[in-house]
Symmetry: C2
Subunit: 635 residues, 2 copies
């Protein structure tokens, strides 16, 4: 059962704070830039061709010459879908007729690419109609449909226009026909459609969408050899996948029996998101129990301090418990977005601050790190340590780039960041039967379905005073983050007696009340579990939800020889510069280790006092190539 | 010019000390066991078939049915060669008629497999004669010939029997004909034959062997695209190698221009060994300069504290400067053997203790770690940290096994260890025009060509008193290792005034003199260069040449939470147990870190005093699966 759920998109309007400024960056820079990419008009960028793919697919359906045909990855369609979804959320915050017209036109182009039977995928429509539904392992047909269903749902929610929604309902009907009525035994190679069907079900109340979502969840891994059989029956492949790595594709066991988070980390959390949504929606306790196990596996054993997941580039995947290398991390941006989605769904069934804590951790660290401050460059991979000369260069570190690259052909993360930031209100606030939930601290105005209307003012995440001005009263639940060692909550200046229950304070506010939450602004030394081999003897620094890092630029170009002095003083300084914007820098008492030139020596190094300067991790890599490190020896 | 060179094999007879006991283990266990493997008579071991390959090749030459044909790797022949070489060295120390007869019979079988034109390789002879010399990149024909030349040289040196030597001289003549006279443009895919030709040249003085070795050295990398062209000209491959990774195969530039040690680490050091030998033999200053650069690249930037090299499993290769991860190391046993060979050649041209220091470091740590105490199991890969649950399991750690496996199909390291240990005298002692050189401390009797005859008594590497009893006097040079902070050297009880010159003390001894060398027995804390990212804040422990490690077995099963107390007391304890034999254990003041259950916490861990117990690294993994760590936090 869902105790509370995400707000409708129009219910949150950001102010001029941190979230608002990021949403503006998405609106003003990222969305236009990404549209140029989709149209192949952006400079110095890999070709996308995604819109032309849709145009050419329409030609193929009309039996016309398909021109320059299909170009890109087999899942190229999803770039257009994620862009449209971001546009939808953005339009709800910043209405923009011109942008809406552009989106409408793109929807027309997409609609034209749909076959009579509801099928929609440009790769197969252009290339080879006969291959449809023969390669569920690699083909990404269900994945692309899923993303387009998410876009359709969001666009209807934002604009009230149902053209794309109708296209995708027809598409879902087609898929229902293939997989349920005709009995196709496949299940999604890249889980995504499951969560999209749940979203579309919530909007349309069409029970067939729910049952299709449940079908894909329930049959997954029941026959773990499905993909191998499928492979034997066809003569073509995309990447020569043989379907034998069952853990990679989360098909090693029925999902209800899965205990460890394994395999491709984005696929994993997309799947778990759908599982949690379905479990809460249909009150499926067994499925929810599986979700809890998987959640615990991630957050108690397989997650970086930045909320990043997926330790290895091999399969972009989870590895083993406590295997969390900083330097060779994969830690994909999309995976942390997926973790936020999973957390948000878990939180809907169980209002527990732990879920919101992780959601916040993933957002303020890995998700934001995924995008440069200028909104034009993007990290897929988010290592916690970068050393030029090794990172991006050694064969084991090739994926760990020292600088954010531009858009690439496999452009999953950039539009994913855009849609996540634009829909931040859905993660920050929630509404239950009679309670308004404030999960994350996002400045702006919020209207809840229980009638509560409030305005939130805050300088969060750099200032820890959150002021809620209650325009219309009612029951409110406000999260107290697990990282805040102490807090005060006052209503009209009077300290509340209410105790924290599972990370939330529940109170009833009256019209005109002013609720003031003060969270701890303490800079904290964070100690890793001794079970994490790569972090022995190291510590990291946090302030609020923000993980800090040390960059060479601030530390004489050499972070490797930097040590933190135990119990040293820490200064909190405002910093405002062009490359980083307005932020908070930390100055800590440090020691500079001077070792001799040889690789190994019995000569004790000298330690010279110095100042160690740290900036928020999410801002790293905005000032040129240099060393970066989150974890640092503590002496 | 060679200032000094390795002793003839008969010149050193071990005593009952450390070296002697290892040579006996090789003689009594390893050689018989490996022969059983070669004959496919060993239990629970992967099939070798190597002797049957030679028998079947002989049949092929006689146009008879080849029976069960060829089995194994394309370089399977080399296992027989390395075994024969080990046998040769062993026979010179421990004469054994029965073993010699077995070796003679194997040589007969090998000789029968040689074609009329001198060609010798069972893979091609059995499988497809027409493929000869068409795949120099992967085919290993030159590699197998090289190992057999080494065996032939050693066997003649040990027994005076020249049957195999004649076979290999004829084989060399054939190769000379193909590559020099007929102008085949290839150069060895896996360098090895170059150093073997140099060895055979030194024995036979046949100038054509020297010029063939120089030819292979000189043309390497002159046309870096040779392998790619070769690939295009043939329709078959062994491993689908395309020859495009020039660094992997050290063909990216002419060898004289190579500065960084790159690519497959065994290939690299085999090549550099031959380069150093040729440079010193022919007084080629430019080539020697290249060797010095490559030596410095390895020892100043790319070597583990254990003398291991090759940081990554990908290509079993060097990576980048200071990229020396403990847990994902490849660190192949054969590569450290090759490093000893390279060091020994460098030392022949320049008597500098640094070369001997590294030779010793590689031997007492990685090379010995390559073999279990019982002589029956072997590590190819020698990580400096092993954590069950991650090591051998996570996709990035699959190669880092927690226990020594038995012999495998790709059996390069086990016989390599056997031949190295059996020929230890060649590395330990050297002879110049008029000086006897004592490079490493190996108990036993030594006769030098300058007439010096001495007996060395020592409990090294666990006791640091080395006694040389001079039976016949003359000029002697004794190395003082770089790791010994202080030493005393007495001649007949009188402290010598002689100063250290490049790591050696030179003196003239008289008949009957007793020279006593006392080296430092201090346990040393070793600090890594701050440029090595993975070792920040960690230290390791050495005593003499031996690197220590911490194993779970001695430390309550948990090494990950173990810390060393800064400036804590250290106890040196003799340990004698069945699994480790007689060794020295260290007991250090430690701290046990108690962190809370969560992955990351702001709660400061508790540190409870404890005793940290360390054993020599080379003995790790002899007591069942457990955690192991060389580098440890120092608090």
């Amino acid at each position: 059962m869902k105790i509370q759920q995400q707000l409708p998109i129009h219910s949150y309007k950001p102010g001029n704070g941190f979230i608002g400024s990021y949403q503006k960056l998405i609106r003003n820079v990222v969305i236009p830039y990404q549209y140029e990419v989709l149209c192949d008009k952006a400079e110095d960028t890999e070709k996308s061709h995604v819109i032309d793919n849709f145009r050419n697919a329409a030609k193929a359906l009309r039996h016309e010459n398909t021109g320059d045909g299909f170009y890109g990855m087999v899942f190229q369609d999803s770039d257009a879908a994620k862009w449209l979804e971001a546009v939808a959320y953005s339009l709800s915050v910043f209405p923009d007729e011109k942008l809406e017209k552009t989106a409408d036109e793109l929807i027309d182009i997409i609609a034209d690419a749909q076959d009579k039977d509801g099928y929609l995928n440009t790769y197969y429509t252009i290339k080879d109609k006969d291959k449809r539904w023969t390669n569920i392992l690699e083909g990404h047909e269900l994945y692309c449909s899923g993303h387009m269903m998410e876009a359709a749902t969001a666009y209807f929610e934002a604009t009230g226009k149902d053209k794309l929604l109708k296209v995708m309902e027809k598409n879902a009907e087609h898929i229902y026909n293939i997989f349920i009525e005709k009995g196709h035994e496949g299940y999604p190679g890249h889980p995504e459609i499951e969560l999209a069907l749940m979203k579309m079900y919530r909007l349309t109340k069409n029970e067939r969408l729910l049952s299709l979502a449940r079908h894909f969840i329930d049959i997954r891994g029941v026959d773990p050899h499905y993909y191998e059989k499928e492979r034997k029956e066809r003569s073509w492949t995309v990447w020569n996948g043989d379907g034998r790595n069952h853990h990679y594709q989360q098909s090693h066991a029925p999902v209800r029996e899965q205990k460890d988070a394994v395999g491709h980390s984005v696929r994993a959390v997309y799947l778990y998101t759908a599982m949690a949504d379905a479990a809460n929606t249909t009150d499926d306790k067994q499925l929810l129990e599986a979700c809890r196990n998987l959640w615990n596996s991630i957050t108690q054993k397989r997650m970086y301090i930045t909320g990043a997941i997926g330790s290895t580039v091999h399969g972009e995947a989870f590895t083993e418990d406590y295997d969390l290398p900083s330097d060779t991390a994969y830690a994909e941006t999309c995976a942390s977005i997926g973790l936020m989605m999973f957390a948000s769904q878990m939180l809907q069934g169980e209002v527990n601050g732990e879920y919101a804590d992780i959601m916040e951790k993933a957002f303020y660290n890995t998700v934001l790190a995924g995008m440069a401050k200028d909104g034009k460059r993007f990290f897929y991979v988010n290592p916690l340590e970068v050393i030029p000369g090794i990172s991006g260069k050694a064969v084991t570190h090739r994926h760990d780039l020292t600088q954010r690259p531009k858009w690439y052909t496999c452009a999953c993360c950039p539009p994913n960041v855009a849609r996540l930031i634009s829909s931040f209100g859905k993660y920050a606030y929630g509404e239950g039967k009679d309670t308004a939930y404030c999960h994350l601290y996002a400045e702006g105005e919020v209207i809840f379905s229980n009638g509560v209307k409030l305005k939130c003012e805050t300088g969060y995440p750099y200032n820890f005073i959150i002021r809620y001005i209650i325009e219309k009263g009612g029951k409110i639940a406000i999260r107290i983050p697990g990282w805040s060692k102490n807090h005060t909550l006052t209503v009209n200046g009077i300290k509340t007696e209410a105790e924290i229950s599972s990370g939330y304070i529940y109170l009833t506010a009256n019209d005109g009340d002013e609720i003031l939450l003060n969270l701890s602004d303490e800079v904290k030394i964070i100690y890793p579990s001794s079970r994490i081999p790569t972090l022995s003897g190291l510590v990291s620094i946090m302030r609020g939800p923000i993980v800090y890092c040390f960059e060479g630029t601030d530390n004489d170009g050499d972070v490797l020889s930097l040590r933190l002095r135990k119990n040293g003083a820490i200064k909190v300084k405002s910093l405002d510069c062009e490359q980083l914007g307005s932020t908070v820098q930390l100055e800590l008492e440090g020691l500079r280790e001077h070792t001799c030139d040889s690789l190994y020596s019995s000569q004790e190094p000298a330690f010279i006092p110095c100042t160690a300067k740290a900036i928020p991790y999410y801002l790293w890599g905005n000032r040129g190539e240099n060393q970066m490190r989150v974890w640092i020896p503590y002496k």
